[in-house]
Assembly symmetry: C2
Homo-oligomer: 253 residues x 2
């Protein structure tokens, strides 16, 4: 027979207003309502709230929390593992900051002034590396790019393994279709392209047909991407690019 807002609020150490808010934005709606409109939270709701608070504590925006809690592959254990890894990383980060502080204290004790770069290096774990800057340039700092970057940050080593495994499978299927002589604008190739697009959407960001076209073009233009495909079959890169465009055409985009 569930818990009332007040009870849940006390249990979880949040305010009633917060629960109302989570209900409003659809992040956590109580399983039921009483006849008089009172919210009734179930045990499942409590578990969801637990995860919400956890990710929130680690600084995730609520909208993103909703996404990662609603993705299909999200059972309790997956989340616990992910949370465990996120915690480890966070602790590592704080340790680095501790070390930086200690260095600063030493420098201070010796009367050595810090250079501006030294001053902020401890915050610099997300500084634009080469690759990021380039992607930014290519993608024009779009929403999708940001989304991707953040999604990547949440992925555990396990996630990465599954991600690359899935990606490799699709690539192999492409290679097979290509060597079998199936046309790039044929049913099979287009379905594979669609699968590819879904794969990206699931793991990285909301990949529209238009973005997907752009990706395909990028594959042939950039030798680093081509390096992944050509060894499997020369010409595969172009084939994939064409299949992507055919698939987008089919979808009317």
């Amino acid at each position: 027979m569930g818990y009332s807002v007040g009870q849940v609020a006390r249990l979880a150490g949040v305010t009633v207003r917060t629960l109302h808010h989570y209900d409003e934005i659809g992040l956590l709606s109580p399983g039921q309502r009483t006849a008089s409109g009172y919210r009734r939270y179930t045990d499942a709701d409590l578990e969801r709230l637990q995860h919400v608070l956890f990710y929130r504590e680690l600084g995730f925006p609520l909208e993103e929390i909703a996404v990662i809690l609603d993705e299909p592959s999200s059972d309790t254990l997956t989340h616990l593992r992910r949370q465990h890894e996120l915690l480890s990383r966070r602790i590592g980060r704080l340790r680095e900051m501790t070390a930086a502080i200690e260095r600063a204290m030493e420098a201070n004790a010796m009367g050595i002034p810090l250079t501006p770069e030294e001053r902020f290096e401890l915050f610099g774990d997300f500084r634009p590396e080469e690759h990021q800057a380039e992607a930014e340039e290519r993608w024009g700092g779009t929403e999708a790019f940001e989304q991707s970057r953040r999604r990547m940050a949440t992925m555990t080593k396990d996630d990465w393994k599954r991600f690359t495994a899935e990606a490799a499978r699709t690539t192999e299927d492409f290679a097979k279709a290509f060597t079998d002589g199936l046309p790039a604008d044929g049913e099979v190739a287009m379905d594979l392209a669609e699968e590819h697009r879904a794969h990206i959407t699931r793991w990285c960001y909301d990949c529209s047909y238009e973005i997907h076209r752009g990706l395909g073009d990028m594959y042939v233009a950039d030798p680093r991407f081509a390096a992944n495909y050509e060894p499997l079959a020369p010409g595969l890169t172009q084939y994939i690019r064409d299949a992507i465009h055919a698939n987008a055409d089919r979808a009317g985009a």
Copy 2:
């Protein structure tokens, strides 16, 4: 000779807008401006920014950061020490969360459902203990109370030592004035009361005369406070209370 907003932004890994914002709210105004109105940040500004970002990272509101950076006893070393301690605490907290996650994983593996209390105990480090609940009741959950609670949280063991030392000194002075037979509404006693008020304002929260009166009344009403004063001189508690009121009267409040 100085850095532009853009340079500082790149160095510190924040946006220009953020620096503009800090300037607007007076948290970090550049030491100079060029003739054409461009912001010029000095090395001292950079150091301040470093501290700002640090405290921000640890979740302090900007307004509070301004306060702790502007308090008189705030030299670089003090801050570095404080930051070091805050980091240690933070790491400890995250370790506890890690342990809680591990317990949850075990329970999950064994198929044991968690009780609602177990679910959220890891977030419960700020649950209302007896004392806090009482203070809340007394003070009616005022702004001052919240301010105090947060200030306390930033204090290192060293801070506490100095705090209690200062407090003890004032108390002794009060005791001396009392045993010397000086009147509670006399110059000396009132000055001591004012010092007491300043002490609270400096360390805990903005203590108005009205609040101060309330504190004085509380001292005589609550035996636990009286226990601190009476051993020094019987009747001292009442004396302090009267001095506080006299001082408030003198200030016209």
